[in-house]
Amino acid sequence: MRPILMKGHERPLTFLKYNRDGDLLFSCAKDHTPTVWFADNGERLGTYRGHNGAVWSCDVSRDSMRLITGSADQTVKLWNVQTGAQLYTFNFGSPARSVDFSVGDKLAVITTDPFMELTSAIHVKRIARDPTEQTEESELVIKGPQGRINRAVWGPLNRTIVSAGEDAVIRIWDSETGKLLREADKESGHKKTITSLTKSADGSHFLTGSLDKSAKLWDTRSLTLIKTYVTERPVNAVAMSPLLDHVVLGGGQDASAVTTTDHRAGKFEAKFFDKILQEEIGGVKGHFGPINALAFNPDGKSFSSGGEDGYVRLHHFDPDYFNIKI
């Protein structure tokens, strides 16, 4: 396949998200400006100007009208996707890391980093249909986990919130009361910081990637470990194909190994695994730096990867991808 290279960001990419229809791709990077691209040919549509810090993640509503972005400048902003105008700003006491719209887009879960005296927290905010009615107040604030919470997403039917972070433990919280419902088993869980989390298309299972060079597949309701995928590199980003039973891991390189790397350029790859057999199917090379973000188009026919090199690479699969057999 011929990937489409998009160099709109000058700093490393942090997050990629497709909209529900799969025609827009939103990219967040450390350069303060989330960008939206057309997902078929990679043409840039626009940028959202307003943040003053690295944008760590974003989410788009189901009708692709609203975009929510979380940034290191301690704000979370709501944007009009079409015009790029800012609709509302939530202020926090510490950098906001992960944002996720609930099913129905009426609520959003936001995580904030530990900063000075504040511990990390998970906030649930109500999102009004009309931006003029938006208020700052939180429906729910959950404090508790140690260390940074890298990702928090809604569970099935918005009843639960799943969080994962630096302490390598996945937790499931009740979204109404804030009570901790389940914690992942320490023995079978990750050993190092969990960097990324992605849900399956139907929400019944989710995949977490960690710096311990592995990714694990969990059942959302019972938090039991289903599968483990092992690689040679710390995993920075994970994605699941909505169409086939494939899992993609994107990773980096231990900082300590940097000086002894071989000189080959463009060799950071996104590794494809069979979801059920846990075996490696192949890798797609091309990035000049560790891969920090991965996302599958909801139609499953293309995927994009964002790297430390500031490039977003959009890949449309060749027909023989769909015929791969182990």
């Binding site: 396949m1 011929r2 990937p3 489409i4 290279l5 998009m6 160099k7 709109g8 229809d21 799969g22 025609d23 827009l24 400006t33 960008t35 691209w37 057309f38 078929d40 040919n41 990679g42 043409e43 840039r44 549509l45 626009g46 940028t47 959202y48 100007r49 009708d63 692709s64 079409q82 015009t83 790029g84 040679e232 300590s256 190994a257 002894t260 790859e269 494809f272 490696e280 199917i281 192949g282 890798g283 797609v284 090379k285 091309g286 026919k301 293309s302 690479r313 890949h315 449309h316 699969f317 060749d318 991808y321 791969i324």
Partner: protein
């Protein structure tokens, strides 16, 4: 563009005024019927534009003729490759979104901006190879063959790091690897651990590849194992070169490297050489068959390169 000065009008609504004495250069103005005629006159000297439509490879050629600044006729051939992108069946809203106006930094985007480009390389989903058959290894016999086929040119092989064509053993920049090679031959794990431990004990720098718990790349393992499958051939005739040895030993199995010791001054063989096999069994069979074989009126002696205990 034709060396004719066009008079400019401020806006398209101004009345045509041919007596305007202001001789500014500008784009051709369609209202100047005087110039229009001149355009036509020059134009039909040029052959018409040809479009060679998209052929089965998707290549489309457009041939245009123009006059350049000096008034010379120029033929411009534009070859474009039309690729069909994945078919996107978009729903109605997605189609509407396609027509949205650009905003933010994309507003002033000029067509020449190279923000989005298709990769020039074809990237494939590389299937993982079976262990023991990494991509580099498959290329190595090809490389040595290519070099050998250059006409028996001297193959500079460094025994320490195994790199070909770069430097001799005494000039090896990786001289410090010499110790690990031997230790690997005997007790890889023990020596690696002891080297690492002693290294860190003294507070010396231990490279990550030699630290405890570091995994060795299969590539270097392969090279070491190949050196273990090394066969020494002695009593070679003067004219024997690498291609000859390769031809002689190839029937027994895959050969990764051949080397014939050369006398620099005379350019002849010093009478011995080494052949590295991928598989031990092939090396053993070669030894069995070729030891005592008559080659170019000399009896060859073929044995293991370093005395093999196991």
């Amino acid at each position: 563009m034709y060396g004719v000065v066009h008079f400019t009008t401020g806006s398209l609504n101004m009345p045509i005024d041919k007596s305007d004495p202001n001789p500014n250069q500008s784009k051709a103005s369609k209202f100047r019927w005087g110039e229009l005629e001149e355009d036509d006159n020059l134009d039909f000297l040029l052959p018409p534009k040809e479009v060679i439509g998209t052929d089965e490879n998707g290549i489309k050629k457009v041939i245009e003729y123009k006059f350049n600044d000096e008034g010379n006729k120029v033929k411009i051939t534009t070859t474009t490759r039309v690729r069909k992108l994945a078919k996107a069946r978009l729903n109605r809203r997605a189609v509407e979104r396609r027509n949205w106006e650009k905003f933010g930094d994309a507003v002033h985007e000029d067509v020449g901006s190279r923000l989005t480009m298709v990769s020039t390389e074809e990237i494939i989903l590389e299937r993982p190879r079976a262990p023991g058959m990494k991509a580099e290894e498959i290329k190595v016999p090809g490389d040595s063959l290519a070099q050998l086929s250059k006409g028996g040119a001297v193959l500079m092989v460094c025994r320490t790091c195994g790199k070909k064509g770069d430097h001799w053993t005494s000039k090896c920049p990786y001289k410090d690897l010499a110790a690990p090679v031997e230790t690997f031959v005997d007790k890889p794990v023990a020596s690696e651990a002891s080297v690492a431990a002693s290294g860190s004990g003294k507070g010396a720098y231990v490279p990550p590849s030699m630290r405890a718990g570091a995994e060795r790349t299969a590539g270097s393992d392969m090279r070491r194992r190949n050196d273990e499958n090394s066969v020494r051939v002695t009593n070679l005739s003067e004219d024997t070169r690498e291609p000859d040895l390769l031809e002689l030993f190839r029937p027994f199995g895959a050969v990764t490297r051949v080397y014939v010791a050369m006398d620099q001054k005379t350019g002849t063989s010093r009478g011995f050489g080494f052949v590295n096999f991928v598989n031990r069994e092939d090396a053993q069979r070669a030894i069995n068959k070729l030891n005592g074989y008559g080659y170019d009126n000399l009896i060859l002696r073929v044995e293991w390169a370093t005395p093999r205990a196991n």
